[in-house]
């Protein structure tokens, strides 16, 4: 029972991390129908830079802000140079290769300057040994923090998209950018902001996950972005609630498989799930079908 419980807790926690990645992917999907596959490397870079600044004696809070600022700026770079040129040609999927390629480039640069060894990540928010008691069982505090953060973010985004005028603007822009421009919406700025927000979120997720693992290395984030993608598709691309549920399903399922069958099958099961989902319900669990009469 204890074993099952600890697997579930761990599953929900890593699932929440996948959910954060999935939400980051959603953000650019909302505005441009593109996904920033460079996110994995942004997570890595943010954690890496924070660890580096901290090791140079920079005040920790400042190191965190600096790391986030760098990935935010890289978000601008990605939008401008990896995504926008590809979108000039209608139906182009160039952004997919370009964002993935940019991620690989960042990974290479990090390996060159920081070495390919894992570096220790400082204790930013909490210590690895902090625990809380859930249903009479001890659970690491870090697991709880990441779960609460994911749930809170989903609630905020649902409110933002559903209840505010800017939520409507984002839906409008995702449907027809040109019409948005002709009606006076700052379409370019909205798209740019979505990439910055997605990148900063990747940075936050990267630091939280590095905090849990205790270390970060240049390859960090690569699996995460794939599993985040699986979570997003599973929950329904573009849906925040879907990202959370999809992430937790993937997280829990892979931990259960890892615990009872084999850790080697942990990630494989996520992709098996993806294939089943695409065959059975390709729009995902929570995507709202968009009614359009032609």
């Amino acid at each position: 029972m204890d074993f099952l419980f600890s697997l579930l807790i761990a599953g929900v926690s890593v699932g929440s991390a996948y959910a954060l990645v999935a939400i980051g992917l959603n953000m650019t999907f909302w505005t441009t129908r593109t996904l920033n596959f460079g996110q994995g490397s942004l997570m890595m870079l943010c954690a890496m830079l924070t660890a580096f600044f901290a090791s140079q004696g920079v005040w920790l809070a400042l190191a965190v802000v600096a790391g986030l600022a760098v990935v935010g700026l890289l978000g601008i770079f990605i939008e401008r140079f990896a995504v926008r040129p590809a979108l000039k040609t209608e139906g182009s999927m160039g952004w997919m290769v370009a964002t993935l390629g940019f991620g690989t480039l960042l990974q290479g640069i990090a390996a060159k300057y920081f070495g390919s060894q894992a570096v220790a990540f400082p204790e930013v928010v909490f210590s690895a040994s902090d625990t809380v008691t859930i249903f009479g069982q001890p659970a690491a505090l870090q697991y709880l923090v990441i779960f609460v953060l994911a749930v809170g973010l989903v609630a905020l985004l649902e409110l933002f998209l559903g209840k505010t005028i800017w939520g409507q603007v984002i839906r409008a822009v995702s449907f027809d950018q040109e019409l948005g421009r002709v009606q006076g919406m700052p379409v370019g700025a909205i798209i740019l902001l979505s990439f910055v927000a997605s990148s900063v979120l990747a940075g936050v997720a990267g630091m939280l996950i590095a905090q849990i693992g205790g270390t970060v290395d240049p390859a960090f984030g690569f699996d995460l972005v794939l599993l985040g993608f699986v979570s997003a598709v599973l929950g329904g691309m573009g849906s925040s609630v879907g990202a959370l549920v999809g992430g937790i399903v993937v997280g829990v399922l892979s931990k259960l498989v890892g615990g009872y069958i084999s850790t080697a099958a942990e990630h494989g099961i996520a992709f098996a799930l993806l294939m089943v989902m695409l065959a059975v319900r390709p729009q995902g669990l929570f995507a709202r079908p968009e009614a359009v009469k032609v």
Partner: protein, 235 residues
């Protein structure tokens, strides 16, 4: 006043407008006529800033806006009802109107502006919360025109408001356009394939053929000549 001076528009090597000039005075309706592919939509798109202008200039009340991006031209008082049922189809009728109002001049408070639209087209009040993409063609055109007028624009571009609609709906839409022209006293540019219809409601007319202005002048004169010369322009 809305001015187009010697504007050429080209998509890559394909030139769709060559040295077109046009002038639309406040309080008047200017018809842009021509067959399919003559360049009517390109001219309107050049004015609103979504077509690649190769040379020439566009002026709003004397201010050169040629280099100003589309969304800022819209904020300067331009409204463009584009052709082809351009609406935010997943959004409800009311949200389409709301967004257009939000980024317009907001000269009229939102509740009043909305009530005006619903008084004019009661069917839209019934469909207020329906995704606009599910409306009939005529109803969608009502939303599109209302989205343009709810902005309280200073210059209004209407692209083929009659396209694909039943005659009774066309007359309803045109009745609204002439009424709005009189009430608002702004400059309206109306692109239309149905020449007679457009000339009847307009003050001046321009006839485009393969991207050039081949005739322009007083609408009544154009209408009088229409039988012979206009048909020739369409061939």
């Amino acid at each position: 006043m809305l001015e187009v001076r010697d504007v050429s528009v080209a998509y890559g090597a394909i030139e769709v407008l060559r040295n077109v000039s046009l002038c639309a005075e406040p309080g008047t309706t200017t018809a842009v006529l021509g067959a399919n592919g003559a360049g009517k939509s390109s001219l309107l798109r050049a004015i609103s800033g979504v077509a690649p202008v190769r040379s020439g200039s566009i002026l709003f009340d004397g201010q050169d806006v040629t280099q100003i991006p589309a969304h800022r031209r819209a904020r300067l008082g331009l409204a463009h009802a584009m052709e082809g049922r351009r609406l935010f189809k997943p959004l409800s009728v009311q949200n389409n109107l709301r967004l257009s109002w939000q980024f317009g001049a907001r000269a009229v408070p939102w509740p009043t502006a909305l009530r005006d639209v619903y008084d004019r087209f009661p069917i839209l009040a019934e469909k207020a919360h329906v995704p606009s993409g599910l409306l009939s063609g005529g109803q969608q055109q009502m939303v599109i025109i209302s989205c343009a007028t709810i902005r309280s624009p200073r210059y209004l571009l209407l692209d083929e408001p009659s396209l694909g609609l039943a005659p009774i709906i066309v007359s309803q839409i045109y009745e609204f356009i002439t009424d709005f022209a009189q009430r608002s006293g702004i400059a309206i540019v109306l692109a239309e394939q149905m020449a007679t219809l457009a000339l009847k409601v307009s003050d001046r007319g321009y006839v485009l053929r393969r991207g050039r202005v081949v005739q322009h002048g007083d609408s009544r004169t154009l209408l009088a000549n229409s039988a012979a010369s206009l048909t020739a322009s369409y061939l």
